[in-house]
Symmetry: C2
Amino acid sequence: MRKSIATVSLSGSLSEKLTAVAAAGFDGVEIFENDLLTSPLSPEQVRLRAADLGLRIELYQPFRDFEAVPDDVLAGNLRRAERKFALMERLGADLLLVCSNVSAEARDDDALAAGQLHRLAELAAGFGIRIAYEALAWGRHVSTYDHAWRIVERADHPGLGTCLDSFHILSRGSDPKGIEDIPGEKIFFLQLADAPRVAMDVLQWSRHYRCFPGQGGFDIAGLAAHAVRAGYRGPLSLEVFNDVFRQADAGRTAVDALRSLIGLEESAGLAALPAPVVPSGFAFAELAAADTEPLRGLLAGLGFTRSGRHTAKPVELWRQGEARVLLNTAGGHRRDGACLAALGLDTADPVAATWRAESLLAPVVPRRRGPAESPLDAIAAPDGTELFFCGTPQPGRPGWTGDFTDLEDTAAEPIGVTRIDHVAMTQPWHHFDEASLFYRTVLGLRPDESLDLADPYGLFRSRAVANTEGTVRIALNVAPGPGDQELRPQHIALATDDLVTTVRRWRERGGAALRIPGNYYDDLDARHALDPQTLAVLRELDILYDRDEHGEFLHCYTPTVGRVFFELVQRTSGYRGYGAQNATVRLAAQHTGQQQPA
Amino acid sequence: MRKSIATVSLSGSLSEKLTAVAAAGFDGVEIFENDLLTSPLSPEQVRLRAADLGLRIELYQPFRDFEAVPDDVLAGNLRRAERKFALMERLGADLLLVCSNVSAEARDDDALAAGQLHRLAELAAGFGIRIAYEALAWGRHVSTYDHAWRIVERADHPGLGTCLDSFHILSRGSDPKGIEDIPGEKIFFLQLADAPRVAMDVLQWSRHYRCFPGQGGFDIAGLAAHAVRAGYRGPLSLEVFNDVFRQADAGRTAVDALRSLIGLEESAGLAALPAPVVPSGFAFAELAAADTEPLRGLLAGLGFTRSGRHTAKPVELWRQGEARVLLNTAGGHRRDGACLAALGLDTADPVAATWRAESLLAPVVPRRRGPAESPLDAIAAPDGTELFFCGTPQPGRPGWTGDFTDLEDTAAEPIGVTRIDHVAMTQPWHHFDEASLFYRTVLGLRPDESLDLADPYGLFRSRAVANTEGTVRIALNVAPGPGDQELRPQHIALATDDLVTTVRRWRERGGAALRIPGNYYDDLDARHALDPQTLAVLRELDILYDRDEHGEFLHCYTPTVGRVFFELVQRTSGYRGYGAQNATVRLAAQHTGQQQPA
């Protein structure tokens, strides 16, 4: 189906918005009146600009407070409408959105509303324009889609139809199934917006917190499917009011937006995409730093062995059990010290995975492969981390480790690390929702609920995505505000089957976990009544503790190098979380550590 | 009354918080459990630190989900409580806050709740500890203060009282008058927090949007007065959960917090302050710049005459009618170009005004007065702007203009500017609520409602403060996020009685107003049906138009120099606003102007 977006969904001037919408690949736009009023371009110039960019102007909006008014008010409203029709002629727009009246002048009289809308449609017809009537969730007398439709039906004018908006419908708890009772040709327009499920004033919710389909809590795909079953054949159009998107880069938001519509078409069964190839594990995590010496020391202490060197690049492979960490010394341009540059994902079919990623607008990272290297496809995640699709080695197709020559020069005694349990990455403040949609649609990972975590200097939000087996888990965090790179820590959590033994071994070779305050253990005692011996060991080793209905979680942290630190974790009996309960203590301890002399 | 604040209200580590609270001048603190858990200080060390700082630990909190539970759960809860009592002994805290149970295990049984709270109070008594029971607004069975009090009354233990929290009481719409029916000695604690009046889930509202008394929409002073009339003699204690305060500088937030309590004591009739001396007009606005040449050109074009030079400082006085602008060339350290450095306020009694400001913790600006200069007291506003209290000249007390020697060297023909109508200043993102409380309490100005204004690159919030006569008006704006200085424009609005003539004269001497898009005027025609001639003149001169129920507003803008621009305004028939309707158009036009070659 055609794909469109309202200009109000993006940041910038009208001209910037049109450029971003076209570059992302949309077919059309809704022109939001304020964007035109504030533009130095005349309507004719906007029409030309849109045409040059290959964008159809699907709709002009909004026209407010028109129907069900006394006669003297109607005269003024018709005059106002006529001015807008003249404008739309210049703009080349042939569909006007009329929102249900919110003013005190409106009467609760469907016959009056229908009659006046008929008259408006008749006037519009003279300009070659049609009218799409929409129920605002906070409309004075008309606030549900079925009520708006009854009025349109009663008005009975070929140039008058209804506009459905998923936010207005779902935020009121209306059942979208009734959409199928509307003749498809009378659904003139379909606006799609998701939103987090929060209990708040619906006007505030609508104006500030909408998001793209798949980023909130509503079933937008289901709603769109109802409209298509009803016979709707117009565009799928995004209309999102969001305080964050208003500030973010328009080009990037437009891509995020189009990805959400492509994903929606798939979910709604309206279009087929290459099936997701859900990664089955972490092949590696790659750290980059201009000076990798501190990371080498840390990895060696943690029982990793430097087992290989890339044949063509300044990259080392460190491993322990199934945990593999690459150290890339070609990170001289990175001023922020060590950072997580890439993740390798075990992928049954890398070609299919890349194909899906491309169809969902994920940027494919330009190849820098030497002639003898194994093919390795990579895409860029929203925070810039490169994601490599690593295929299982097969006859005739060497695995990615084939590009490394064997080394055993620093063979260390392992301390019990078995694999990478999860990685955590702090996302750019403006792109948190983009990230969770990206991992869900592109990689087929399943998102958890969002959590608020208290850092001493502000609240974090955190949301994890994982595969069904829990063998790939990525925690996406977002810092309290738009900040600098150094405020965006990243970490790699390493699994062990026996954390106490692992930590003791680490200590024997000089390791020291992040110090946890004694008060934390007093509270642990009060809350969980652990046996005194266990508690004493946790306290001694600075190990944190959590439990859920499935099992227990033990974890501790290394010092931070650049933006990166490691976590050592032990899950028992199917514990599902990430120790969120303890995040505040960990964050405070990290701040304390930074304030103390090393 | 003693003044206290909960550590959760401030940003940082426990140690930083205690320091900030003491430095601001509070008498005590509530220790919020998470702040202790995350601190490397032992309870004994915290006790010593507080004592050294002269702070009393008024309360330890919160203890959750205790009462009205089955017997087996009670045993665990009592064990948990005993651990906390032991901790409080080490901490030197003798009052524990118990919040009404929110867990699914709680029963709706007042007798059971009362009996178990009695048992808890008995256990606490052995540690010399008392219990303050509080109804959370989202408590499972106990969610109102009168219900909590009935349970406390029924439990009938001398060591058990109630804690009143203004947020929990007012957010539910309870009538606080009933507080007077509680014996004062049974009100063990009084927690104060304000909040903006928004319709949203009460838990979210409470956890993220609380603010200090006087910064929100509730009558906190009235509630405190009820408690005092009931006989409450404990501290007034602030407990504010706020996402912004969590990020802001703790020292500064603590001062803002204490100012709110001082103002509350005055409003509630609990303490007397020097009466406010409301300013009656703008004596001057002072602009500072390393290079004032662009400002000189702008002022001369606008019909200002350079009429004086300061006898001792590199400051010029420019005037037209009663509008006075000072140009300070000692601004060489200001990298951000021209900025608004100070405002002079006509003040009947500068000494009394300064006295009040000091009693409300406003920083008095160190004097840099020469021996022959007139006395001029100044305080610093939250954004750093200096506010000078300028007394009316009297025999024996020369006015501030006496420090300027007369000049008429650039005598310009006036263009009709009569006085300063208002000034607008963009506030630091973390300190918007602080600013409106400051202007209200320190200067006695009256705040308007907050408005959201759409800039192409994000939403602004704006709130004006003014005196009753409308002769001093200050618009406080806050940018979309924590940003740089240059993103914080400031402007001075100059009044005229005939804007069209004023703009024509300005044009004759080469002035050019900010270009307003033609689309704006088409829309003005559609909305207001102005007569075609008027509309044509507005369009020709780039004048914006607004109206309210009182009158009309015409305004236009100069180009921006550094962070500063001027507005020319004409109010008719008592129009009260600031043309907020047009802010989006103006902001977009300013962005457009910056993107085009000058």
